[in-house]
Symmetry: C2
Subunit: 328 residues, 2 copies
């Protein structure tokens, strides 16, 4: 089985590749080849039992997708995207990569040939939804994004469903929750603090909390995100029907609940490294974000999270990123 | 006020132009110029108190929209589309006109200049919805189209909302019900019989009914459709917020109720010209179509139908198309 990953150098892409390399297989099939594409070269994994090709460059350029499809990969993970903040600041770039790039990829698949029908897993986002929301967003709630990024993702979902209905590919779109705990350095994303208030204190560093503790949000661990991608790539799509874009399961938690979990798992002293510094600008942005979902359909289709509680989310981070230890 | 109409030669476009010419104004403003564009030249209206320019050609070609926008029309009606059957048969043409053409128009508006922000009225369709449906589809139901046409319209809606949110234009998207009674010759559209079983008998001709009388569908007269367009062009958009695509009000009626109305308005003899000829293929297509909506938001925003009952729909046709007389 040949797997092609777009966006392989990103955080979720790297975690996915690690898992695929460790497993050596995807579902029932042994992996025979992997192609990793991103705008910057992805790190080539070590100790791999199959050939891995690394390709770097802009994928929203005519001919790039065609070339990567020449060997007819069986499964394509499409994780490539301009993130929300940048897509909002650079209108043309966001539409060019997130809309045109996605469409060029789907068209390249369509035009490859009559017998080619790969599984395509597309990472969408809960940014396809826009406030005001019901208390828990159900599977049939409409998509009225409030960012160009969410608009582009919603368009990608529509294309994925139509290209699948037409028989050009076997697409599954998954709307990932906010990934928590996101590893790496603090960044300027408005959502950064949801991970920062856990990740930084666990490493002995101070973190800033810009919103009040009653802010509720929708989370999943990186391990869950990778699990969703693998399941989307291997599930029986006969059950999914024409509605191919699914809100993934997650945990709805307030910031207060996140902090309580941190205290339980790592102690009061660690949680004391969180400094309250209210920021009206960030609070305003976050107020428009989804708080909770009823992801019934995805659960019925076999998507499961790796965590049952927020304590688990913290433990997964300590396990995967900190070698089992944190700074008490 | 300068008005530009894309799709001016189509059925709804012609009715809209007739109404604008008769009124001589749009809302509070006198019309000073009208530009009519379509792939074939629209008929130039007679006895007009303002200059009318007719332009013919493919609008999904670079430069065409820019040229038509050179005089900065205040209101743009975008009714141009490849219809559902053709968009399904010709994948590339449907995407090129319905998606690329719409995006090229919106981008041409965006790039015209900082102070330009026209009102843009976009005709979407109830084809953005896909079965299974609730008994009445509410304003927050999700869009999962089952045709490429509906996919392209749903994408147009997303673009319209994002380009409006960004401040490039003042867009309003309206999802028209099936237009009934559609004037003109019978066509091969699967929905054709909804109009045919009324229009043909009223002209003394036989009509074929391919489905059972309990089939329910969602209708509005051409007069209502024009009323929706005018209201969308003149309403205060402050009230609409970021959710700029609205399901228009209509009448939900079964075929049996349509026929009963025909009997009341035109008599048993006219209704006897309907011949039952069940067609499993058409029945299958129609089974996937919306039956009923709760168009609350549009009503609250001032959209109203010209008809209260199906009898009215028939009377409007007799009045507008048959000079007040039918073949008894």
């Amino acid at each position: 089985m040949h797997i092609l990953v777009f966006g392989a150098a990103g955080m979720v892409g790297r975690k996915l590749v690690d898992r695929l390399v460790t497993d050596g297989r995807l579902g029932k099939d042994a992996i025979t080849k992997m192609t990793l594409h991103d705008v910057v070269a992805a790190k080539k994994p070590k100790k791999v039992g199959f050939p891995v090709e690394v390709s770097a460059g802009d994928f929203a350029v005519p001919g790039v997708a065609e070339k990567l499809l020449a060997n007819r990969p069986d499964v394509i993970f499409h994780l490539a995207a301009i993130v929300s903040g940048e897509a909002e600041l650079d209108f043309d770039k966001g539409y060019r990569i997130n809309l045109d790039g996605t469409r060029m990829l789907f068209d390249a698949i369509r035009l490859t040939g009559s017998s080619y029908k790969p599984r395509v897993v597309f990472t969408s986002s809960i940014a396809v939804f826009g406030a005001p929301f019901p208390e828990a967003i159900g599977d049939e709630f409409f998509t009225t994004p409030l960012l160009s990024y969410g608009t582009q993702k919603a368009i990608g979902e529509l294309l994925l469903a139509d290209y699948s209905r037409r028989g050009f590919m076997e697409g599954v779109g998954i709307r990932l929750p906010t990934i928590c705990i996101r590893p790496g350095l603090p960044n300027k994303a408005a959502s950064g603090f949801f991970s920062g208030i856990l990740r930084e204190p666990l490493s002995g560093k101070e973190a800033i909390l810009p919103v009040s503790e009653d802010v509720r949000h929708w989370h999943a661990s990186p391990r869950s995100a990778v699990g969703f991608l693998i399941h989307a790539a291997t599930m029986d799509t006969a059950a999914i029907g024409p509605r191919r874009n699914l809100t993934m399961p997650g945990l709805s938690a307030t910031v207060g609940e996140q902090i309580a979990a941190l205290k339980r798992v790592a102690g009061e002293k660690v949680a004391a490294r969180i400094r309250r510094e209210p920021d009206a600008f960030i609070a305003g942005i976050v107020a428009g974000w989804p708080r909770n979902f009823d992801a019934r359909r995805a659960r019925e289709l076999g998507f499961t999270t790796a965590e049952k509680t927020f304590d688990d989310i913290i433990r997964i981070h300590i396990d995967e990123e900190l070698g089992g230890k944190f700074v008490a």
